[in-house]
């Protein structure tokens, strides 16, 4: 994934059964990019991959919690069903108001079949368990 501004980042926290990500950034969009980076770093491991294609991802939700969970689950769905491997995300925008929010983002990456080695891990889904969503901090638990 591309390097973000200085304050953007993430860490993995201990969770007995699953994996918990704590990410931060300057504003919600930047923080969500950091979460996305963390998820795919966990799945793909340390591997250099070609950016052979781009695709749009959208997600809808009632509130920001929904937006975070459904955005991550949409990426997981596209990865498993279409083999789309995300390497960077940009132009991430959230529009609408509480009750009817919509997120759109543009991804660059490659196909699973273009990976020279197998991904390191599988993520089943992003969950609402212990979910923390703020403008500069997101904590999310992945079922692995």
């Amino acid at each position: 994934m591309e390097e973000g501004p200085k304050r953007q980042g993430y860490e993995f926290q201990d969770h007995v059964a699953d994996v918990r990500i704590r990410a931060w950034g300057n504003g919600f969009e930047e923080t969500l990019v950091a979460v996305t980076t963390a998820v795919w770093s966990y799945v793909l491991g340390d591997v250099s991959l070609p950016r052979s294609r781009s695709w749009e991802v959208s997600a809808e939700g009632h509130d920001m919690d929904d937006i975070v969970v459904s955005f991550l689950n949409e990426q997981i769905y596209l990865y498993e069903s279409e083999g789309l491997v995300p390497l960077s995300v940009k132009d991430l925008k959230v529009q609408g108001k509480d009750g009817a929010l919509r997120l759109e983002a543009l991804f660059e990456g490659c196909l699973l079949t273009e990976m020279p080695v197998s991904p390191e891990r599988q993520v089943k889904a992003a969950t609402y368990h212990g979910l923390v969503v703020g403008p500069e901090l997101i904590e999310v638990t992945l079922d692995v």
């Binding site: 993995f12 926290q13 201990d14 969770h15 007995v16 059964a17 699953d18 994996v19 799945v43 491991g45 009632h62 919690d65 929904d66 459904s70 689950n73 769905y77 498993e80 069903s81 083999g83 699973l112 990976m115 197998s118 991904p119 390191e120 891990r121 599988q122 089943k124 889904a125 969950t127 609402y128 368990h129 212990g130 979910l131 638990t141 079922d143 692995v144």
Partner: protein
Amino acid sequence: MSAIRPARDKEREFHWIIEPTGPMRVPGVIYATQSIIDDLHGTKALQQVVNVASLPGILEGSFAMPDIHEGYGFPIGGVAAVPADDGYITPGGIGYDINCGVRVLLSPLTEDQVKERLERLVEALFRKVPTGVGKEGPISLSQEELRRVLVDGARWAVKKGYGLQEDLVRCEEGGAMQGADPGAVSERAFRRGRRGLGTLGSGNHFIEAGSVSEIFDEETAKVYGLFPRQVVFWVHSGSRGLGHQVCSDYIVTMRRAVSKYGPPLPDRQLDGAPLSSPEGRQYFAAMAAAANYAWANRQVLTHYVREVACEVFPEIGGEENLPLLYDVAHNIGKMEKHTVSGRDMKVLVHRKGATRSFPPGHPDIPEKYRKKGQPVLVPGDMGRASYILSGTEEAMRLSFGSACHGAGRAKSRAEAKRTLSPEALQGELKEKGIHVRAASIKGLIEEAPSAYKDVEEVVLATHGAGLAKKVAKLKPLVVIKG
């Protein structure tokens, strides 16, 4: 940090109680040793037992098996029953890997007969079975064929030549749960399910060859077909991407539904709906369909194991000489009959990381095992031991006929990696004579024996509390992991 302190039941060993307070409708009941309870302090698992106790309609208790650890919504090892007509069903009580489960195949061989060929076995299994992340299976299903899998489960697989007719009677539900409706499964789940059949997956899924190292109950072992030093095969997998998508889809549905049917629950991963509601009925139908996919998956994997075993050990003399002992579901919601406060009731039992443990005489278990109770299969970890137990009458009274499903994790994946190197793990397993292959070395470390509770402690509490009885102990010989 959890401040919840379960109280030891003075009358009954291995029983711990959390008395109901606040929104809890029933007590929390944990079956455990002192050491298991001590290890739970500081985790969210006990809070999750408390949260489950607030589910609308929950009957008798929020139960936790001895392999309890922190999950999301329910703890892993959590069991909760609700009335089948209007109790709540929640995807958080079943999990993302719907009908993740395990089965055991019996061989006629002993450890001494196979020990020189274990390296060949592990290589051949690893070559044959698609393991790890992103691995598609050799079976590509059309939309119509996948619909049939979702209804017929393991029956579909046997009809297609993956296994034996008699395998079906040795699966819970005959390998196909009633009430499955492919129409309740989204197109997205269908897409994730087309190439997943016959794949092991990653994480804690595995295929193992083990041998019987100790027999505790000779009569039951004989009925189950177990004998000393016998080689058996374990297959642990689930509903793959299709099941994960069904769960994700219905968590969204239940998020919308929950406010229609009652006050908010303490954890959004517990959101659910009454079984009588459209959302509740649809989720049950989709969950049953995903469960059937999982039974078909384990049936196909079983066929691969038989092919490999017969190739490496031709003296087996054919797949019919590798019969299925039993197949149990770990993550599932089942419609069952139980006695509640002296009254016979149809209930939905959520089992999230728990095994059914039906007693001798129960009509839902195969006739062959009816005098002794259902085989309860308890895989431990890849370096120590596993157990085969038998179901009990007490389990019907204590836990809606449920027992532990494994050793249960003790360390996070990150901690496992911090405390063990790949070289140290491989050395440890080699020293024990255990042959291992894994798609990912990081994945292997995360599943190291030290990341799990000691299965001895879990089985001590399970047997001691009366949830299931010890029949045999097994040790690992060969393990392949995703």
